[in-house]
């Protein structure tokens, strides 16, 4: 029995194990070399990622608080992969940082939080997972300790998320009052679509919406992304968002199935708002991180569109897109991170003439942005296509038309960056940068992922075989 227990919980346990290992090093060792630690951690993360693949069994533990099945394991593996890439990319930045161990402790704590959130079988576990992933993240936002912007970002993040989880909690409490249970399965049976439950649901939804930066709950996003260290922004934009999306879709499709007609309308509205607002704001940004922040908001809108499809295709497309999105967004953030760590430059104008000095970085950036924009042959194209394809499954062509239009708008600002990199020049372009091995590896993974994921249909097939529909 214990073997089954451990096996089912192995992803959480491994990460927790790494946390404790690091904690012991922190407490035990007095002198250590940052580079060694970084290599060690990355090795452990790699091992973690690989171990994630060893089989899986569907099980429900702790009297329904913890679920696991192939889909959830896959989702966690996706997050593992993203974390690994981020960690590799953070190499440059962390090498100059003194609290490397703490960084990883916090980061992995959030990862564990996401895992528990994904596996949560009741609202309490969900809430704990959410907080476990939020509170350390707020601390991480502040990790550029001397930078005022970093502190400001952390403050905005913790205040906003405190407020949002307060609303979420209020929603949960009302839901509890209405149904008498915290258990996901039981809640689903007791929903009747009354106004009160709907209200509770909207409060709950706002909590989710906050995490995935859905307009109008997105306002923290840009400021926090801009102020936080690039690595943390990247983590926020892909891992945090991806994990919450995983849970969100699970919750919508199973727990709130009885309210499907209601949330469909809400999501359509929010999706449109999110895409439009995200794009309109992204249009006028001059700083890359901020631009990527708004772009990630717009991407959330597209993902919502996929969710509205309420079908297996929808679920599969969302998961697939998040996988693709991890590669693409991390490719872009990786470049920003590297350049920011080595030169401190983060404005679009600073990137003018980058191609002349750093062709490799430029191509990584370009390919990632193309993928974000949904241009073939990058995987982003497939991801967006399937999302919207799922979204249109309900016959709402106007909605998808707006989405398609938004893809055009989004192309504009992605191309602005490309334009700066490839076509424009400036008197003092960013000099030739050396790319250490680990970030280089990360870029390789991202680019390979961007190019291969789309062309190899079996990835989607596999996800589809696990996915659920309404």
């Amino acid at each position: 029995m214990w073997a089954g227990f451990i096996f089912s919980l192995r992803q959480e346990l491994i990460v927790t194990g790494i946390i404790f290992l690091l904690l012991f090093i922190k407490v035990g060792a007095t002198e250590y070399k940052t580079a060694v630690i970084l290599n060690l951690v990355n090795g452990l993360l790699l091992a973690n990622f690989i171990l994630g693949f060893i089989g899986c069994q569907d099980s429900i533990l702790f009297s329904g608080m913890f679920h696991t099945n192939k889909l959830l394991v896959l989702e966690k593996n996706i997050l593992n992969l993203g974390t690994l890439i981020i960690s590799l990319q953070a190499y440059d930045w962390l090498k100059g940082h003194r609290q490397v161990l703490e960084f990883y402790l916090l980061l992995l704590a959030t990862l564990v939080g996401f895992f528990f959130m994904i596996s949560a079988g009741n609202l309490l576990m969900f809430y704990l997972g959410l907080e476990l992933s939020t509170i350390p993240l707020a601390a991480l936002s502040s990790f550029d300790l001397e930078k005022r912007q970093s502190s400001e970002a952390a403050m905005k993040f913790i205040m906003s998320s405190a407020f949002s989880s307060a609303l979420l909690l209020f929603g949960i409490s009302l839901l509890y009052g209405a149904t008498g249970t915290l258990d996901f399965d039981t809640i689903g049976q007791r929903l009747d679509g009354s106004a009160f439950q709907l209200f509770a649901f909207i409060l709950l939804l706002s909590g989710f919406a906050f995490k995935i930066s859905v307009v109008p709950f997105h306002l923290w996003t840009a400021d926090v992304y801009e102020g936080s260290p690039v690595t943390v922004s990247a983590y926020l934009s892909v891992i945090s968002k991806g994990a919450v999306f995983f849970v969100f879709i699970q919750v919508l499709y199973t727990v709130f199935k009885p309210l499907a007609a209601n949330w469909y309308r809400i999501l359509v509205l929010l999706s449109i708002l999110t895409m439009v607002t995200g794009n309109l704001f992204a249009l006028r940004q001059d700083k890359l991180k901020r631009l990527l922040a708004f772009s990630s908001i717009a991407q959330s809108g597209f993902i919502l569109a996929g969710i509205t499809g309420s079908s297996r295709t929808g679920d599969a497309s969302v998961i697939y897109f998040i996988l693709v999105y991890i590669f693409s967004n991390l490719g872009a953030f990786g470049v920003v991170s590297l350049i920011s760590a080595q030169t401190g430059k983060e404005g679009i104008d600073d990137y003018k003439g980058l191609y002349a000095t750093n062709p490799l970085l430029s191509w990584v950036m370009a390919i990632s942005l193309f993928s974000l924009a949904g241009i073939p042959p990058t995987a982003g194209f497939f991801g967006k296509f399937f999302l919207l394809m799922a979204g249109v499954g309900k016959g709402n062509y106007v909605f998808i038309g707006i989405a398609a239009l938004n893809m055009v708008i989004s192309l504009y600002y992605y191309l602005r960056v490309i334009k700066a990199i490839f076509m424009e020049s400036q008197p003092e372009p960013i000099g030739k940068l050396t790319i250490p091995f680990l970030p280089n590896l990360a870029f390789l993974i991202c680019v390979a992922g961007i190019i291969m994921t789309g062309l190899m249909g079996w990835v989607y097939d596999y996800i589809y075989s696990l996915s659920i529909g309404l």
Binding site: L105, L132, A139, L145, G177, A178, G180, A195, F199
Partner: protein
């Protein structure tokens, strides 16, 4: 109206009034003290609800922990005696409107929804029961959340240390 009810209404009034003063007072210390009162009032409410353990936790954590922390940080960051800046006018108006309208809306929802007690049993919120459930892995066992929150607290602690600790300026 029974004495119990009277106690409840007095407690309620106390909680709300203290809460209101906590968010309205221009003196930050007073504000903190009003918060303390309000939280204590809530602990009283828990007592009134016969949730002694929760009430105890409320007092220990909030009154003994959080409020102290807050006061401590006030000392760190604030020159005492100075009035807090007045809220931005327009935001104050909108906030009143939002909070008021939100309250109306929520209250309307709650009022309309007839809550029906489903279970018949009585609640056993004794320390022993809570403790047993907290560490149980079987039905109604909360060992997993308990473990999770321990990681959370650990992480929070590390976070606080990293952020708040005064690092010595690196070899300049």
């Amino acid at each position: 109206m029974s004495a119990s009810a009277v106690v409840f209404y007095i407690l309620s009034f106390f909680i709300l009034a203290a809460g209101l003063l906590a968010v309205a007072s221009r003196k930050i210390f007073r504000s903190a003290i009003w918060l303390l009162f309000s939280l204590t009032g809530i602990a009283g409410l828990y007592f009134w609800l016969q949730m002694e353990f929760i009430a105890a936790v409320q007092i220990v954590v909030y009154v003994g922990g959080i409020v102290v922390l807050i006061i401590f940080s006030i000392f760190l960051t604030q020159q005492s005696g100075k009035d807090l800046p007045a809220p931005v006018r327009s935001r104050a108006i909108f906030s009143v409107l939002a909070a008021g309208a939100g309250f109306m809306l929520t209250w309307l929802m709650i009022r309309r929804y007839g809550f029906h007690p489903v279970g018949q049993g009585t609640i056993d919120a004794s320390v022993g029961n809570i403790g047993a459930q907290m560490l149980s892995t079987s039905e109604h066992g909360y060992v997993l959340p308990f473990e999770v929150i321990s990681i959370l607290l650990l992480a929070a602690m590390i976070g606080c240390i990293v952020i708040a600790i005064k690092t010595k300026p690196e070899d300049k």
